[in-house]
Symmetry: C2
Subunit: 234 residues, 2 copies
Amino acid sequence: MQASVYLIPVTLGETSIEKVLPSHNREIILKTKYFIVENIRSARRFLKKTEASIDIDSLTFFELNKHTDANQIATYLDPIKNGFDVGIISEAGCPAVADPGAAIVEIAQKKNIPVVPLVGPSSILMSLMGSGFNGQSFAFQGYLPIEQSDRIRRIKQLEQRIYNEDQTQIFIETPYRNDKLLKDLVETCSPSTKLCVAVNITCEDEFIKTLPVKEWAKRTPDFGKKPCVFLIYK
Amino acid sequence: MQASVYLIPVTLGETSIEKVLPSHNREIILKTKYFIVENIRSARRFLKKTEASIDIDSLTFFELNKHTDANQIATYLDPIKNGFDVGIISEAGCPAVADPGAAIVEIAQKKNIPVVPLVGPSSILMSLMGSGFNGQSFAFQGYLPIEQSDRIRRIKQLEQRIYNEDQTQIFIETPYRNDKLLKDLVETCSPSTKLCVAVNITCEDEFIKTLPVKEWAKRTPDFGKKPCVFLIYK
């Protein structure tokens, strides 16, 4: 069988492996010796969590983040030439979706190397499932602009799209700015536009709540530094 | 603990449970007695696959599809009042994403019933992971129009969006029209626009291939009646 690139999702937060990952993923991990990872320390921790007896020192890690040089990235797939599978592991959730990994997959596709995504938790997809919003048409927009006037303009643009295109709009924020984003949404969107906030998906304190913006305006929830996904729909 | 609505993903095609579903899902299924399902026969088959000894006759099924009356749908959550969890199971993959279920979740959110999405295979998310395309910004557009001129116009519009907004565009087609859609994409898109076709995700014959449209034009793959996801990006 030809060596492949596996996209290996990880748990979100302190959730157990059994809660969010199929046992098949463990089998793939245990036969893989080369890993391209967003952060070596947390990747090692995840592998130990998967199998306590794993021999970390027998594994090779390549680091992939915004500081990694493009020429270097291309060499990360060299083990494939010698018949070894390569796994991609990001910091949280599914590699290549709102996380690094796509640059490696792009190279693999160009080199005609099989790419195999594994199942795992995606806070984007799971928050959409739990929102009650349109799942036949949706868009993930990443982070909104930081600068206030740009951000307000962007929120208005996305809100228009839910009415004009019947499309759920999904976005995220750096946790320490969650409360600020909620405030901007409440002050910018129409009172009847619906907002879903999905907090700490798959974790003990998971919370997914959909309410009209006018109802959110009456509350002052404190999401602290918890990872949140924000969704708006009509 | 308050009774909840669980969104329970199922396998795609003939894949084994262990390959694509966490063992936690099995535990939730075995403690649930009420299921809202897209198709009773295939839901029963999935439950039997999860646990061969399951007593199907002790379970209650409510059918949810395009023929279901809206008033009837609201009654499907009545078991919650009596402290019983309710599970939602669609035909393939994740409920409420490109599948029924969102209408029920919407009602649950309004009634302040906790909604808990479980992890499972999503051909949309997995094809995005395997495409090498932008995972920081992407949109799922559902089905394109059937009528040729509308469809061509829509393809042009989506192609513009990948260049103007740097957003991956994802769509699906009824399997028997896959080959026709591929032909329309090849004839409509710029030769350098990249197209990824993801066939039978998670199944034995899974195939995820990204190529510029001009390369697809030289091939005449026959996807037959296999489920495909189509993605375009620059």
